[in-house]
Amino acid sequence: MQRRMQITAFITLVLIIFSIVNLNPPFDKKDSQGNIIEKGKIKLGLDLQGGMYLKLAIDTDKMPANVKLEEAVSRALEILRNRIDALGVAEPLITREGDKYIVVQLPGVKDPERALNIIGKTALLEFKMADERDKISEMTDAAGNTVASKIPEGVMVLADKEGNRTPIFTKDLLTGNDLVDAKVQMGTYGTPVVWFKFSPEGGRKFAELTGDNVGKKLAIILDDKVYSDPVIKTRISGGEGIIEGNFNLDDAKDLSLVLRAGALPAPVKIINKYVVGPSLGADSIAKGQKSIIIGALVVVCFMAFYYGVSGLIADFALIFNVLFVLGILAALNATLTLPGIAGLTLTIGIAVDANVLILERIREEMRAGKTIRAAIDAGYHRAWLTILDAHITSLITAAILFQFGTGAIRGFAVTLFWGLLISLFTAFFITQSIFDLRKQYKTLSI
């Protein structure tokens, strides 16, 4: 008995230190201006702190034929990382899922629409020659729709931002891959334009291209939209150029950002988007806190009322349970979601089951005429297997929920799983050691 107590006391101490170290500080520490000085150790899910979740699929139909899917996804991941870094979101999470999906999580993002605009843009910049010999009117039917059979070989029809269609030669001359830099500049009429610079290799190609086509129109195309089609006046050897397109300042900034970060190898489609505003997140935290505090109070008070001092011992173990679970969640870098809080609340209700089983058993043994000491020992001894069986069934469901769940559900499964596992230790061994502090009992409040 002595040895068991020592081991329990030792593990408890280790877990207390572990939890406190891992949990300090539990939530973000902010200064008087509301800036975060120190990040809280409990990672809050998007549903609690607000932010954006995106699941993107690479559009395989529009992927260039020479690119493998595997390469395309890796390249897209890298480019999205660059773009999001430039966007300046704290702790973004960009992961690959399955063969062609990319999940982007931006906790606390201030302007989700802008972020979406930057992430979702393919940003494929192309330079092609405008087809000045064919007329768009010759490629349409009476209703004004373009007719595929009327479009000459090697020509395609693209629209500009206003929706006006122009024929363009399909031949690829240069793409944004040859860019090394892009910036916002003020154009001649005070409207923002995007300035770009080619790599030396790209600059050489650009010089050649412009030299060969003086007097002709060069179409600057971004994501299949013609942004401008200036007439080439002279050979451009500096390897620089500008894109005009009646931008406002923010658009121009975002465009230069995505051009710097590079084009996605193929367009991406948003197949799942989830945005939570900060106020709803705060509201959820408040509601979660209220539920868990009131729930815990009901259970703690009831146990103390019904089982007296023995109930208080169980309550004591319950407090350790919650502390340890939070400590483990922080150490595992797990995310606390609203369903996670619900899981923790339910754990409180379910975890006392072990204590109820033990205490009821002790009562039974006492009624059967055993001394208090013998009743306590028999109670713990006999309840153990039942407690184990009962916990394992719930642990199985929690583990399966974790396996199949996504996001918030995982948050639930994680808290439930650890809550139940830890309660095996807190509800059984810690309380047993407390009972073992005294060798003999004349009376027992139970």
Binding site: V299, T386, L416
Partner: protein, 307 residues
Amino acid sequence: MIEIIKNTKLNFIGARKVTYIISALLVLNGLWAVYKIATGQARMGLDFTGGISVQVQFKKDVKVDDVRGVLNKAKMNQAVIQQIGEPADKVFLIRVGTQELSGENASGTLTQMLKTETGDNDMAVLEQNEIGGLVSSQLKEKAFYAVFWALFAILIYIWIRFQLKFAIAATIATLHDVLAVLGILVLLNKEVDLLVITSLLTIAGYSLTDTVVVFDRIRENMKHILKTTYQDLVNVSINEVLSRTIITSFTTFSVAMCLFLFGGNVLHTFSLAMVIGVVVGTYSSDFLASPIVVDWENYERKNRTGK
């Protein structure tokens, strides 16, 4: 010592003719719910149907009709508009099915329209959710596998720990609970989403815990009570653990109730399912799982003596 339950001698097994009927009705209702879900007549969450939902809070005085007007303009005539909380909060939840999605980022376009059309520039976007058909079918598949594997794993565990008849009785009781809760939720016209599936699995775990406690006691009593009939033995066992059953159900019920009362809109159906599940799960261990074991055992004994 405070005791609510003291030396009870309730005849749980004796009531089985009545409780079998109750359980059968609950299961039938559950199967009806499954049928309704399978045929698309039940209210399903966005996770499973796909589509968009937007929750916004207006600052200006905007009415449901105004919101409806914007939606009609956006050609989202089938959208469901729901006002959340007090009318004074001016919080609206708008849901649009997949077939009406006009393209990429429809939820972003919709919130932008709500803002400009109502002229409420301070309108706050509380939540935006957009789920494509592909994702929703993946989620459906995942939910199905989760339910399947959870029940399967539990069954295997019980088979290892108990005799076959206990394992089957426990599995029937667990299935009964899951169907009963699902049936009641669909009957109440609650929306079934991923969180509800989560709660169903949690209920399965909880209900089984309850059954295991009773079965453990039956097994223990089988070792030293030999003279009585099997029915009496099971009855005694249930009565012996009755106070534990009631108290644990009470604590779990209380926390589930707290979640229901204070947890807000997101946890509403989830916690309601838990509240119902605790009651049903407790009921089924005493009134369904145990009687099945008794009937099975009696049948076996009759066959043995008949030979």
